[in-house]
Every structure is written in structure tokens, then in C-alpha cells.
């Protein structure tokens, strides 16, 4: 399709050290994201999506480590890179937006200082030049009266404004890769839409690659080109967002799509009908079976699901791959 991918995850595994040995957190995850495009990692809490993001940024908490595979950023293997090299990349060529803007910003520095910090650390800018660029960034993220707000502390800003500041910090050095970990979950719906619009516009300007982490597939369909659905640390379906959303092949993806009561203006019958639910819950860390981890919640489970190990992703359609022994039928469209 487009040029060389900015980031390639090649068979990445992440493990957590416990008293009783290493427990897999993410297993054999592979995907790539090209310049200017967006991939969404979708899954429930505990499925490993945030850990994947932290591994790419080299911010894994203590006890976690990359236990296999490679993270290729513009061709360079990050798993083997030195800490100082990773530090030089982080906040510069690759950066991250966190879910909760209140806890991610430093309460004792003004937002201007926090945006300038990245510029001074990575781009050798002086104090004045960095402050001027910080002001430009605040304007770029559409903060009204930016010249006054640059002196504001995080507590003086609303949630939406704080998230805009986070975006300004992350994009200050015009990174090649931006990871957004549930960037709008803490925000109101109308503000969510504004923030997504802003991200899309800035992405177009800078042709940044974006990895978007979310638990709601419907919310990101507009801006994600590709999607990878994770379940219990394994990728169970991957493909072009439009294709996966129109015709999910894995029973879990299909379940995720129908269990959300999406707004249906003009539809009267929606009220008080029971939702299609996925019974049970995700197996906890350390108790994941080698067979398909979804088998105990799955309505299509067969004997082979319970005896064979979880199948790897295999391609069923040109832009869609699924890890399931009994995938949903793909309707052939004329």
C-alpha cells in the first residue's frame, strides 16, 4: 500500500515475573502501522493492550519484560536497543497520550513549561525558542486564548483542555509514531468527538502513524484504518476496520459488536429488550489455557476447540485474519 511501515511488531511476547515463574501477558502479537495510518488495538481490560503500548515505549512496569519477538521502529529493533537510545526516541520520534490527563500532567509546572520540556530535551532549543514553539502547539490543538493558557497549571484547565495539552506535548517534536491509550475515555461525548477530530487533523498534517488503544470498537471506526482485537493476551482477529466491523469472523469480535447498545435514533423497539451478552469473563492472568482462551464463553465451541491449542491467525479474506477453528461464515457479497 503506502511506504515502509513506521512500526512493525514481530511475534512480540510480554511476560510478568511472579513467585511461581513467568506468566505470559501478551503472546505472539504481530502487526504493523504505516506512516499516516491508524491501527486500533481493541479488547477488554486485562487483554494486554496497554502493556503492548508500554512495551513499545519501553515504559513497562517492574517485573514485566519482552520475552520474545521484535519491535521494529523504522527498521531498528527496539528490544535490543540501549536504554539511552530508547530515551532519545521516546517523546521525540515516538510519543504517547495517556488515558487520564489529570494524573499524566505534572501539577506543579505550567502547561507551557511541560510542552517546552520535550522540545528542550530533544531538539536543543533554547528557553525562548521552546516557549514560542509551545505557544504554537497550544494554538495547533485549538486551545482558546493560548497566550494566557500557556501560563496555566493543569488544575486550572478542564478535562478536555488537559487532554489537548497532552496531545500538544506528545506532538511537540512531530513524532513518527503516536500511541493514544484510551485518549477520550475520561472525557464527555461532545468533547470526545472534538478530540478525535483534532487527532485526525494533526495526523494528516504531520502524517504521524497512530496506535489507538480502546475498548469500544464502534468509537474508533471513523479514524482507524486497521484493527487488531485482543483477547487474553492473544490477537484473535485482525484486519481492515471496515471489513472487520461489517463482518466479524471471530465469535468474540461479533459478541463485542452486538453487546454495546449503540444509539439508534428513530428506532422505537430498542427499549427494554435484553442485550445480547457474552456470558462469563476473561480468564485471569496466569490461568490462561493453551487451548482457545475464549472457549468457555463461546457459543460455537466444538470438541476440537477443547483439545487443540489455540490456532494462530490465518487469513480468511484479503484484509482479514482470524484465530478460530469455527469462525463465523463469511457471506459472499456480489
Amino acid at each position: 500500500m503506502s511506504s515502509d511501515p513506521v512500526l512493525v511488531l514481530d511475534d512480540l511476547s510480554i511476560a510478568l515475573a511472579t513467585i511461581s515463574g513467568e506468566v505470559p501477558v501478551v503472546e505472539h502479537l504481530s502487526f504493523s502501522v504505516a506512516q499516516g495510518s491508524t491501527i486500533a488495538l481493541v479488547g477488554e481490560s486485562g487483554c494486554g493492550k496497554s502493556m503492548t503500548a508500554l512495551a513499545i515505549m519501553n515504559l513497562l512496569p517492574q517485573g514485566f519484560r519482552c520475552s520474545g519477538g521484535r519491535i521494529l521502529f523504522e527498521g531498528e529493533d527496539l528490544v535490543a536497543a540501549t536504554p539511552s537510545r530508547r530515551r532519545a526516541l521516546r517523546g521525540n520520534r515516538m510519543s504517547m497520550i495517556f488515558q487520564e490527563p489529570m494524573t499524566a500532567l505534572n501539577p506543579v509546572f505550567t502547561v507551557g513549561e511541560q510542552i517546552a520540556e520535550a522540545l528542550r530535551a530533544h531538539q536543543n532549543l533554547g528557553r525562548r525558542a521552546a516557549a514560542a514553539r509551545a505557544l504554537d502547539m497550544l494554538r495547533a490543538v485549538q486551545i482558546p486564548a493560548a497566550e494566557n493558557r500557556i501560563k496555566a497549571y493543569p488544575h486550572q484547565l478542564s478535562g478536555g483542555m488537559r487532554q489537548r495539552v497532552m496531545i500538544a506535548i506528545a506532538l511537540a517534536c512531530r513524532p513518527k509514531l503516536l500511541i493514544a491509550d484510551e485518549p477520550t475515555t475520561a472525557l464527555d461525548v461532545t468533547v470526545q468527538a472534538q478530540v478525535f477530530d483534532l487527532l485526525a487533523r494533526l495526523q494528516e498534517e504531520m502524517s504521524t502513524a497512530i496506535i489507538l488503544i480502546t475498548h469500544d470498537l464502534g468509537a474508533v471506526a471513523d479514524i482507524a484504518d486497521d484493527v487488531a482485537v485482543l483477547y487474553a493476551g492473544r490477537c484473535i482477529e485482525q484486519g481492515a476496520t471496515r471489513v472487520v466491523m461489517e463482518q466479524p469472523l471471530h465469535p468474540y469480535t461479533a459478541g463485542l459488536m452486538v453487546c454495546v447498545p449503540h444509539l439508534q435514533p428513530g428506532v422505537m423497539a430498542a427499549r427494554h429488550r435484553l442485550l445480547a451478552e457474552i456470558p462469563g469473563m476473561v480468564p485471569p492472568l496466569g490461568q490462561r489455557p493453551t487451548i482457545c482462551a475464549f472457549s468457555d464463553r463461546c457459543t460455537r465451541v466444538g470438541n476440537d476447540c477443547l483439545s487443540e491449542p489455540q490456532p494462530p491467525l490465518f487469513t480468511l479474506a484479503p484484509t482479514q485474519a482470524v484465530a478460530c477453528l469455527h469462525p463465523l461464515q463469511r457471506e459472499t457479497t456480489a
Binding site: G218, L256, V260, P261, L263, M268
Partner: protein, 330 residues
């Protein structure tokens, strides 16, 4: 109108003092809100953070002091009750909170947590209480053995089930659900919503359902009110609300909540509100939505619109409600 509804909120005001010096500042958290909830039905309140929806819920529960207004449960004003009389009322009025991680005492076992409201409000024997705890655990889909576990041993969804069991313990007529499912994963959220619907059908419960998620509200509620900066700006039965909303703020909320696609893209330009709500300290004089409204005229900035009826049970507070055609959402 008809016989008194289960809950009637009449002209409710909740103001908080933000500061006295240098000049007095008052947060107008709830500013003249009225609604009624008939027995066995669900009344939804939607709005953004700071709209006063949670404060309304807490005022109904008598958890925050009210500045003015009446809250009538079965025709009886509960605003000035205290002591034993308030305890009596609390039996029929219970609440589920947003965060199941912080609303359960981490040092007490599940059985004990569920027994607490029974012990405090109903004075039953030990055996009776234990039997009731078992029954409640079964009703919310937990194993009897769960009674001896601590909250940290449950997942988020199970914890919310525990909170529901606690709320059901005294057989209430109304449960206030304040963002009861918004902290949960989507798959778990569907399970809890279904549980709430089943319990309502079995026990004739009424819900005051606070949420920011219009999809969930459409699914759960018989009647919906939209709050903005402490006031209800539109209120309607489910079908009227979702087929022909009349307030520009409701349009903005709906546009933002539409599933991704060409329809949302085309409506976004004209109907999605820009900016963020003004401060609830000294709110603007005219329409409170005027600063963000795409259809604002001079009159909106000067004169506050009243709620007017535009259909059966459909109320809207907008000067221009009969001038502008609502967008076609479907």
C-alpha cells in the same frame, strides 16, 4: 395530573458555596429541576460532567443538602426528614455508584456487606438475614460461596453485582443508578444492564438512571431528561426523544453518540457543539447553552428560555424550538 408518582422532584435547587472572599461565589449545581418517576419505570438523566446530574441523584438520596424544592416519595416530602423517619425512607430508596472499586469496604466480606443494610434498616434475626443474603447473591448471579470473599477477590463486574445485591437488600421501590455501568468493559456492561432489566421485570423496580451514554439510556429508559449546567433543557418519553429531539444541545449529544459513518460525518459540521460548558459559578443570564449553540441569536444571550410543552410529555427550553427543524438522524 394523575395519582402521585413514586418519586416527584419539584423545583429542586442545590447550591454550594465555593468561596466567601474576596467575593462570594456560589456553584449552581442544580437550578430548578422538576420531574416525576412512576412506579416500575426508568427515568434517565443525561448530560456532560458538571451538568448536575449526579448532584440531582445525590439530592434525591438525601446525600447532599438541598437549597430549595421538594422531593416526594409516595406523596411524602422527604426533604426535612431525619433520624428514624429518614431510615424508613431509605428502605425504599437505594443507590448504585459508578465505581465498584471504591464503593465497597475492602475489609469486609461480601456476605457482611450485603447484610449491612438489612441489619441497619430492618432488624431481622441472624438466620433470616443469612437466608436473605443467599437469596440476594442468587438474584444477582453470584455463587453462595461468594459470601465469604473480600471485594478484592472479585472482578469489576462481580463487584457491581455485589453493589446491586446491597441495593436490593431492603426491597426498595426505587434504585438510583449513578453511571452504574460506565466503569465496566463493554461485555460486562451488557451483563449488568441485562441484570438490571431482569430485576426490574421481576420486582417492579423503578430506576433513576444517570448516564452520559445515550445508547445505554435509549436502551434502558422510559423517559429521558437532558441536563445542562444545572437545568433540564429537554425532557421526553423515549420514542419522542429519540425520534424528534428539539433542543440544539440534544442534537449535539446525539450527533456525538451516533455510530461512525457518513451520517455522523454530515451532521457533525452543523450540529456538534464547539467548546466546553461555562462555569456553574455565576452561570450566564440568558440561555446557558448560548455560548456553544450553533443556532444562537441575540435573544438567547439576554433572556433565559422556559421549559414549554411541545408534545405529550415532551418539554423543551429553547427560544427557537419552533423555528429550526430538527436534523434527520435516522
Amino acid at each position: 395530573m394523575s395519582a402521585p408518582a413514586l418519586l416527584e422532584v419539584d423545583g429542586l435547587f442545590v447550591h454550594f458555596e465555593a468561596s466567601r472572599r474576596p467575593k462570594p461565589a456560589v456553584v449552581h449545581a442544580v437550578d430548578g429541576v422538576s420531574f416525576r418517576i412512576p412506579r416500575g419505570t426508568t427515568f434517565g438523566i443525561v448530560g456532560e460532567s458538571g451538568s448536575g446530574k449526579s448532584t440531582t441523584a445525590q439530592a434525591v438520596m438525601r446525600l447532599v443538602p438541598t437549597t430549595a424544592g421538594a422531593i416526594r416519595l409516595d406523596g411524602r416530602n422527604i426533604i426535612d426528614l431525619n433520624g428514624v423517619a429518614l431510615h424508613e425512607v431509605r428502605k425504599s430508596l437505594q443507590m448504585i455508584f459508578q465505581d465498584p472499586f471504591s464503593s465497597l469496604d475492602p475489609r469486609r466480606r461480601a456476605g457482611n456487606l450485603i447484610a449491612e443494610p438489612i441489619r441497619l434498616l430492618e432488624h431481622r434475626s441472624k438466620d433470616e438475614t443469612a437466608a436473605r443474603v443467599d437469596e440476594l447473591l442468587a438474584a444477582v448471579g453470584l455463587q453462595p460461596s461468594a459470601a465469604s470473599l473480600f471485594p478484592h477477590q472479585f472482578s469489576g463486574g462481580q463487584r457491581q453485582r455485589l453493589c446491586i445485591a446491597r441495593a436490593l437488600a431492603t426491597a426498595p421501590a426505587l434504585i438510583v443508578c449513578d453511571e452504574a455501568v460506565s466503569a465496566l468493559d463493554v461485555a460486562i456492561q451488557a451483563q449488568i444492564l441485562n441484570l438490571l432489566l431482569r430485576l426490574q421485570a421481576e420486582r417492579g423496580l423503578a430506576y433513576l438512571f444517570i448516564s452520559h451514554d445515550l445508547g445505554v439510556v435509549q436502551h434502558m429508559c422510559d423517559e429521558i431528561a437532558v441536563m445542562y449546567l444545572g437545568q433540564i433543557i429537554e425532557q421526553a418519553p423515549n420514542s419522542a426523544f429519540f425520534s424528534r429531539p428539539h433542543h440544539p444541545y440534544t442534537w449535539s449529544l446525539m450527533t456525538a453518540a451516533l455510530p461512525a459513518g457518513p451520517l455522523r460525518q454530515s451532521l457533525k459540521k452543523s450540529y456538534l457543539a464547539t467548546g466546553e460548558p461555562p462555569s456553574p459559578i455565576n452561570p450566564p443570564n440568558g440561555c446557558r447553552f448560548a455560548s456553544r449553540c450553533p443556532f444562537v441569536v441575540t435573544r438567547c444571550r439576554e433572556e433565559a428560555p422556559e421549559l414549554v410543552a411541545i408534545g405529550t410529555g415532551h418539554w423543551v427550553a429553547c427560544h427557537r424550538h419552533d423555528e429550526i427543524d430538527p436534523p434527520v438522524f435516522a
